[in-house]
């Protein structure tokens, strides 16, 4: 070894050793800094909020909504919606819907396990129509049930011809959008339960879906969380494909994307289930910020799923394995 070093030393003796040493040190420092930057951009997702684009306002964690009491925890809350000053949560694991006031105080529950009208086996999407009625999609009973704001069952719509496994719901302008994870399509109904449109089929091509879990509607778009394809897709109100995003800048990949929403400023929020995060991005896929990270602490998530933004700008995220709903503003 020393002989080899000696031979190498005789070779280097032909150069300015001092300059070489400085160059090596400088290069090493530069590369370490470069890799440190790469590391910070790609590091473990267990981190709290970050801001990437200056000027964007980040949501602040307000509080978490838990079950009615310490003995009645929610079990796998999959979706949430807000109607007036009430928060409706699909308490999926308990086959019921929990209702809270605007401060997170429990008001009532409705539903029970079963196949009879008004019962649930897997209540998933929740929405409210223009008359304030509460819609609940039941993925296992294969229908969408309609209730009064106090939880009185009115009727349900949908047959095995309409639905395979209705999941996400969104109501907008007299239309009810249903994301069907079994038939891999989006069905659109009027508020009387008549189907007026459907689009999508199973596949990976643009305009196709694999288990779309959520749908939301903005002024321009119908945006679908295409869970099985790990992307979100954009359509017009007639169901014509416009485009999609498979991941966002800053190397943030969609992994099991679930609930999504768009705020009035055009910011798209997406629940990234398997990274336990809430992503915020623009239509070009530029990441604005990341909220959450895996954990049980305030503002953290453990397999989040549902997402809703109310007309006051509050953001609700169902934190399924932590058995709660996180509220941001």
């Amino acid at each position: 070894m020393s002989e080899f070093a000696g031979r190498l030393g005789r070779t280097f003796s032909d150069f300015d050793r001092e300059k070489l040493r400085r160059a090596q040190i400088g290069l090493t420092i530069a590369l370490v800094i470069l890799f440190l930057i790469l590391y910070l951009m790609n590091r473990d997702p267990l981190r709290l909020t970050q801001q990437f684009l200056p000027g964007t306002s980040m949501p602040q964690f307000l509080y978490s909504i838990y079950g009615p009491n310490a003995d009645e925890m929610m079990a796998k809350p999959m979706a949430v919606t807000v109607s007036g000053n009430r928060v409706y949560v699909a308490d999926t694991g308990n086959s019921r819907v929990q209702v809270y006031d605007y401060n997170g105080n429990h008001l009532l529950s409705f539903g029970s396990n079963g196949r009879s009208p008004g019962q649930f086996r897997f209540p998933y999407g929740v929405a409210t129509d223009s008359d304030g009625r509460i819609l609940v999609a039941d993925m296992y009973n294969n229908n969408v049930s309609v209730f009064t704001p106090n939880g009185d069952f009115l009727h349900y719509f949908g047959t095995s011809l309409d639905f395979g496994s209705p999941a996400g719901l969104f109501a907008d302008d007299g239309r009810i959008y249903v994301a069907d994870v079994g038939l891999h399509k989006i069905s659109v109904f009027d508020e009387s339960g008549e189907k007026i449109l459907e689009f999508g089929s199973e596949g990976t091509e643009p305009g196709q879906f694999r288990s779309p879990n959520a749908v939301t509607v903005s002024r321009q778009y119908v945006i679908v969380s295409d869970t099985g394809n790990d992307r979100i897709q954009f359509f017009n109100k007639l169901g014509t494909y416009i485009g999609h995003i498979s991941g966002v800048s800053k190397n943030k990949q969609f992994i099991n994307p679930r609930g999504l929403a768009m705020d009035p400023q055009g910011v798209i929020y997406l629940v990234n289930n398997l990274t336990h995060e809430l992503l915020a991005m623009n239509e070009q896929g530029e990441l604005q910020y990341v909220v959450g990270g895996m954990g049980q602490g305030p503002g953290q998530f453990y397999l989040p799923n549902g997402l809703f933004i109310d007309n006051q700008g509050r953001i609700y995220v169902t934190d399924t394995s932590n058995r709660r709903v996180n509220v941001y503003r």
Partner: protein, 390 residues
């Protein structure tokens, strides 16, 4: 004087390369790994999808109380590759302490799709109708569904395919090792059974030929609670769900009842389908639906004159060549004045005597092993015919 060499440039260069290599692998390999839920060899953070070192309440620090509940946190049907776990008949058996990890491997190495403990033919996984696999390709199911498995509630299905040294030609069917290769098409366990849960008895699927949620044809399995399957009518209805006119399964027309005997089940109200279509004489419904046989039919007619004398024997039916694996039904008809005055006694050698019924027929079961003699006795008269199995 020899000039002293300077080793420091070499050492610093080596150190720099070493550090850069470490950083390169860390950043590109570890830091950007997607959140793979199962394979911790690829993402060591995936452990926390199921285990929680600080808040785990279940066994082995799982996030939920049981293995099943932990799996169902994600495997709830909300993504296409997941399995709906619902139905009245379920494959998890709390009383035998079985759960998802009885059949599935949660941790790698993953040798068998889809994350199975044992081998299961890819024919079904890939929805390939015409795969041919030996019994060993169904180890995942037959390890439990066999005598001596220790699972008392698991019906012994393996026995229907291992009856002889050459195996059994199961018609419905698993190709046993060394057995005959039947023509037509082949079913495997999960073509008919839903391994996780089903609304039907015995985990029978609702629609035949369904993998995941895709309905390939519209044949609907007859559904009944399992205790009703003991009745002739229920068993017959079960078979006729598929073996009816116009049914196709996985693109193949189902074998209908033979021409000329299309409704023979209606003329034989006392019969179970498995009376004729299972190798075990008599009613063996389980054998008949898993390894049904298609027996050859031998019609033996006797002609009796007005003096009650047997004038002639005639037999119809192509029973040659016969092998020892064949099953032959000999249907012996009496004729002439037989119905009015007497009955015909059939003696098989080897075998037991059989009396014709009021309809003048006797149904006898012959299984090939040696020459069988059919002897008819009527009014003291005797006639016989020999059937030889090669």
């Amino acid at each position: 004087m020899r000039k002293q060499t300077d080793k420091s440039p070499f050492i610093s260069l080596t150190a720099m390369i070493f550090v850069l290599t470490l950083l390169f692998f860390y950043v590109t390999v570890y830091a950007s790994i997607p959140a793979i839920p199962h394979d911790f060899n690829k993402n060591q953070d995936s452990c926390r999808n199921c285990h929680s070192p600080h808040r785990g309440t279940g066994i082995r620090l799982m996030t939920e109380s049981t293995v099943e509940e932990t799996c169902l946190v994600c495997h709830d049907g909300t993504r296409a590759s997941m399995v709906k776990y619902q139905g009245e008949s379920v494959h998890y058996f709390a009383d035998e302490n079985l759960s998802c990890n009885t059949c599935h491997l949660v941790h790698p190495p993953y040798n068998y799709r889809p994350l199975l403990q044992e081998q299961y033919t890819l024919e079904t996984v890939d929805n390939d109708v015409y795969g041919e696999y030996p019994l060993g390709g169904y180890t995942q199911c037959l390890d439990c569904h066999s005598t001596g498995s220790g699972y008392e509630n698991a019906a012994d299905i393996n026995t229907f395919y291992t009856g002889t040294a050459e195996g059994v030609d199961g018609g419905h069917f698993l190709k046993s090792s060394g057995g005959l290769k039947p023509s037509g098409w082949k079913l495997s366990c999960s073509h008919c059974h839903s391994p996780h849960a089903s609304e039907n008895a015995a985990l029978i699927k609702e629609y035949l030929g369904v993998m995941d949620d895709e309905i390939i044809n519209n044949a609907v399995f007859y559904t009944r609670p399992v205790e009703d399957i003991n009745y002739k009518y229920e068993q017959r209805q079960f078979c006729l769900t598929c073996h009816s006119y116009g049914i196709t399964i996985l693109g193949v027309s189902v074998q209908n009842l033979p021409a000329g005997v299309e409704n023979h089940y209606e003329t034989e109200p006392s019969r179970y389908c498995s009376d004729c279509h299972s190798r075990t004489p008599g009613n063996n419904f389980l054998e008949g639906i898993h390894a049904p046989c298609v027996p050859k039919l031998l019609l033996v007619s006797t002609y009796v004159n007005d003096d009650a004398e047997i004038e002639a024997f005639a037999f119809t039916g192509d029973v040659t060549p016969l092998s020892e694996r064949d099953v032959v039904f000999a249907v012996v008809y009496g004729s002439g004045t037989l119905y009015r005055d007497s009955s015909l006694s059939i003696q098989l050698t080897p075998g037991e005597p059989v009396q014709t019924g009021v309809d003048g027929k006797a149904l006898v079961w012959l299984q090939g092993s040696e020459t069988v003699t059919v002897e008819a006795v009527c009014e003291g008269l005797t006639k016989s015919i020999s059937i030889t199995f090669d």
